[in-house]
């Protein structure tokens, strides 16, 4: 159990897909102008990555290495299409808001990477948790960016105004420039955080 927790945890901080691995950066900017779209995108990716990890792990003995990549892509594309169809049917507004980026989940490097690196070499349960952890890391990262951008750029979170009227929202935050700069500093912050954690770990090791 401890092990599974570790697999999960690693995806959230130490190997955070966005801030540390720098994979799948596009959605981190494109859909994070508000918290709600960030969350939806996060959950969609989490679902795709977990489901795909499970599928890949289940079929890992059956797939011919020569067509491994195309097969994985087929699998991902299927799952994404499912998500698309479902969202379209049951949450059309969100489907609209995510726009083309929903379709682009197919090519988010993080998903293929987890399939190749982890799921194709591990059994179902760890793969599931790996997917969940990576997905959670991705979701949290998106949510963090989304909340900050929405808060500073529109004065609200999830559409609910939280800062008073005195605050004149800085539009830059919900525009490309602000998004880039914010993520730049968040990446820096994460670097300090992981370094700090590593140091703390090392100290613990010493004692």
């Amino acid at each position: 159990m401890k092990n599974l927790w570790d697999i999960f945890k690693k995806g959230v901080i130490v190997e955070n897909p966005i801030f540390v691995l720098a994979l799948s950066l596009c959605p981190a900017l494109a859909v994070t102008a508000s918290a709600i779209t960030s969350l939806t995108m996060g959950f969609s990716v989490m679902f795709v990555i977990t489901a795909n990890n499970v599928v890949v792990s289940l079929t890992r003995k059956l797939v011919n290495p020569k067509v491994r990549v195309p097969v994985y892509i087929t699998s991902i594309a299927t799952i994404v299409t499912l998500v698309q169809l479902l969202l379209q049917a049951f949450a059309p507004e969100l489907y609209q808001a995510l726009g083309i980026y929903l379709a682009l989940i197919v090519v988010f490097a993080i998903i293929l990477a987890r399939a190749e690196v982890f799921a194709s070499k591990n059994s179902v349960i760890p793969s599931f948790f790996d997917g969940l952890g990576m997905g959670a890391g991705f979701t949290l990262a998106l949510l963090l960016i989304g909340c900050i951008r929405e808060l500073l750029g529109a004065g609200s979170i999830f559409g609910i105004p939280v800062i008073g009227d005195w605050y004149d929202p800085a539009l830059i935050m919900i525009l490309p420039a602000g998004g880039f700069i914010l993520i730049g500093y968040l990446v820096g912050g994460f670097k300090m955080l992981t370094e700090y954690m590593e140091e703390a770990e090392a100290k613990k090791g010493d004692a």
């Binding site: 102008a33 059956l62 797939v63 011919n64 290495p65 020569k66 067509v67 195309p70 097969v71 087929t74 699998s75 594309a77 299927t78 299409t81 499912l82 169809l85 479902l86 379209q88 049917a89 049951f90 059309p92 609209q96 194709s120 070499k121 750029g153 529109a154 929202p169 539009l171 919900i174 525009l175």
Partner: protein, 188 residues
């Protein structure tokens, strides 16, 4: 996994079949899902459209498609046409603004809805807000001119910092009105 690379060889057919099977399964799954969601999606789309039109022309009880015009609807109340709901496209600050405009048979504006737009949040997207919309109600095509003079109530007050978007929407509504009037004239 690793040792397979150098050593094993597969026939072309084997490899192809492998991918084909994967695609087959995938196709099957998608097909099943689509089979179930398609009707819901279609229904949803219908609903949203009527809902939107209903919002534009609240007291209408029926929307009838106009023959010969795609996506034109006549809003009926008790069998009488009380409005024409027609789509309009216009070029805004960040790209095309798509809207749905309701025009009374007299040629005055009733209301409009922005369907899709890429205007700047906080600036251009205020054209979807009621404060701006209300200015249009009951106005005729001749009055559809953007002004920056705060005392002018005849025309349409531009949103500060988003004159371009304001102009675009105004132009769109104006065009819709003219089109409806032309259509009605042609009918008569």
């Amino acid at each position: 996994m690793t040792e397979e690379h150098g050593t094993q060889h597969y026939s072309i057919f084997q490899i192809a079949i492998n991918l084909a099977i994967a695609c087959f399964i995938s196709g099957a799954i998608i097909a099943v899902t689509y089979f179930f969601t398609a009707p819901i999606t279609r229904q949803n789309a219908e609903n949203t459209k009527t809902e939107m039109m209903q919002k534009l022309v609240a007291d209408s009880d029926k929307f009838i498609p106009v023959e010969g015009k795609t996506d034109w609807f006549i809003a009926n109340k008790n069998g009488a046409a009380i409005a024409y709901v027609i789509p309009a496209d216009t070029k805004g600050y960040g790209g095309t603004i798509k809207m749905l405009v309701a025009i009374s048979p007299e040629g005055t504006e009733i209301d409009y809805q922005i369907l899709s737009a890429n205007e700047t949040p906080g600036l251009g997207d205020s054209v979807a807000k009621d404060a701006f919309k209300e200015q249009f109600h009951g106005k005729r095509a001749e009055a559809m001119v953007v002004t920056k003079d705060p005392t002018n109530t005849e025309n349409i007050q531009a949103i500060t910092g988003a004159t371009i978007s304001s102009r675009a929407v105004t132009a769109g509504v104006k065009e819709a009105e003219t089109e409806v009037m032309e259509y009605l004239e042609a009918q008569n």
